[in-house]
Amino acid sequence: MDLDSVYRAEYGRCVATLTRLLGDIGLAEEAVQDAFAVAVQKWDEAPPNPGAWIVTTARNRAIDRLRRESTREARHAQALLLHQPDEPEEVGPVRDDQLRMIFTCCHPALSPLAQTALTLRLLGGLEVAEIARAYLVPEATVSQRIVRAKKKIRDAGIPYRVPGAAELPDRLTSVLTVLYLVFNEGYTSTSGELLRTDLCLEAVRLARALAELMPDEPEVIGLLALLLLTEARRPARVGPSGELVVLAEQDRSLWNRELIAEGHELVRRCLRRAQPGPYQLQAAINAVHTDGPATDWAQVLALYDQLLQHAPTPIVALNRAVAVAEVHGPAPALATIDELDLPGYHLLPATRADLLTRLGRTADAVAAYDEAITLATNDTERTFLRTRRARLGREARDEMTRSVHTVDRENVSATLTVAVPAARVFAVLADPTTHSAIDGTVTGRVQEAVDRAPLTEVGQIFRMNMYHPDHPHGDYQVANKVQVLDPPRAIGWLTGEEKGDGRLEFGGWIWRYDLAPLGPSATEVTLTYDWSAVPQRIREYLQFPPFGPEHLTDSLHHLAELVSGR
């Protein structure tokens, strides 16, 4: 075993024991760090019981250190130390030390963030930098939070002991919450990549330790089972290119069979005890999900009904709706979540979007996906939601677009309905940098905007780099002039060329978009190309319209993808 893994495995245990011996977490940490510094110099390889070695060394270093100091605190700590027996620690008290430490770190008098940071630092042995990375906060913030929490433990006299029977249920809840949140943060990080494996593993390790320390607490066993059964599915949760894979589509052969067997065994242990609680019920739900080739949804729903009684929270109600949809169909499920109040929680609109999709209410579903995408903070989840919505968009194309292609003497137009507000469509159109994407690859004409500022007034000129195989130079540049600007209803421009003397000459044709709002989140977009004003001399060498019949419709679909992707 190398020193790093000894550190990781033993740090928490050693600090817990030294805290009991010294009566102060800060002194304990210093002593343990001193001992590891000695280990770096002295160890060729780790002794048979590295933890005991570290504790003994830390204790001796602490005595030396305290003898050199003469403060009241030092004398007090020294007195405590000298009254301890000199023998190596027994297993029993050491285990109790850890348990005491868990309850101290998760004391409700500390802020939830401080509880988490302290638990990861003192019990998990994670470095401040690792915690900061895991929660994407500056190192200074984490270290300040930990310093303040330790100071409060000391100043306010937060005890270092396992709470008595009367306080235990409440205090245990706060311990379980911390472990659950650590796991969750690892499983679905608030930002960035989807999984932070180390946090998941740390939470499982701490839950295991807690279950060993308190084997008679059903909720502790329930939490461990829940974490194991969730962790077991982790390998199947993310696809080959890092995308999120939902439960129904997961490759079950990737699930960790050992963890599932262990989780199922723990759930059975809980069932025999018949003292159900929220963690046990969630574990049971996950046991059903991981039992056999497919989920027995009726059983899941029955468990959610029970869970809702124990924990009547909107999040439980939302999760229950998924089971309702499987058992009774999407309409009753939608009815159960219509009144839920979960501001800012992206899974509510995401669930609604899924149910609306199943009900064939495509435009509403697209709007719900949009809301979910705006609220989601995790890149992988956002990509997942975008993919879902795009899939819906393709179906929607066939179903809800009225793409009418009319040629009326000297203009041609097409119309498409998009499921976003007119203002959003307008904002995209008024941004010249989007124009090449709208033009698409069909003609391959618009290459890149030269003038990239948004279009804000009539008469504004914006130049575009173009390419056309028939053009004498292949690459060329046009200068467009805004002719119509009526946000958010209409925008149109003339296309021209800058002549050698800097003068602009326009061809006479106009591109124009008309937007008609159809409610708060749908807009009918009409794209018109009008060449009625083109002078004869240009008509002599250009044929109008200079594109095929699909071009306008394609542009509108590109626009639709663009506006819903923002």
Partner: protein, 118 residues
């Protein structure tokens, strides 16, 4: 033993209690104090008059100025307090729970400076 202040954060904007409710509340509060005394935790207790009775004396350049009214014009004002002696914060918190239920106001639990060491 550590010394803690249990400060009653009284909401002065709340509607005044009826005479009867007030009597009940005082009886409940007195009962908690009696419990503290028989447990050997009690050091001091005092109820305060509402904040309009307050005067603030401020130092500055070696002289002082006096102003009418409480230091901070907030809804919650110190309504009274206990000083207790406890083994640790948990013990102080369990007294605070009793006090909060008895007087119907939030209780701020604050350790004394000398609470760090036994």
């Amino acid at each position: 033993m550590k010394k803690y202040l249990l400060a009653v954060q009284f909401d002065e904007s709340a509607p005044v209690l009826s005479e009867e409710d007030m009597q009940e509340q005082m009886a409940r509060t007195a009962k908690v104090t009696a419990e503290m005394q028989s447990a050997g935790s009690w050091v001091f207790v005092g109820g305060l008059l509402p904040s309009p009775a307050t005067t603030v004396v401020r130092p500055g350049n070696g002289v002082t100025t006096m102003t009418d009214g409480p230091f901070a014009e907030t809804k919650e004002q110190l309504g009274g307090f206990w000083v207790i002696l406890c083994d640790d914060l948990d013990q102080a918190l369990s007294w605070a729970e009793k006090c909060a239920l008895a007087c119907g106001s939030p209780i701020e639990v604050r350790p004394f400076e000398d609470a760090q060491w036994k």
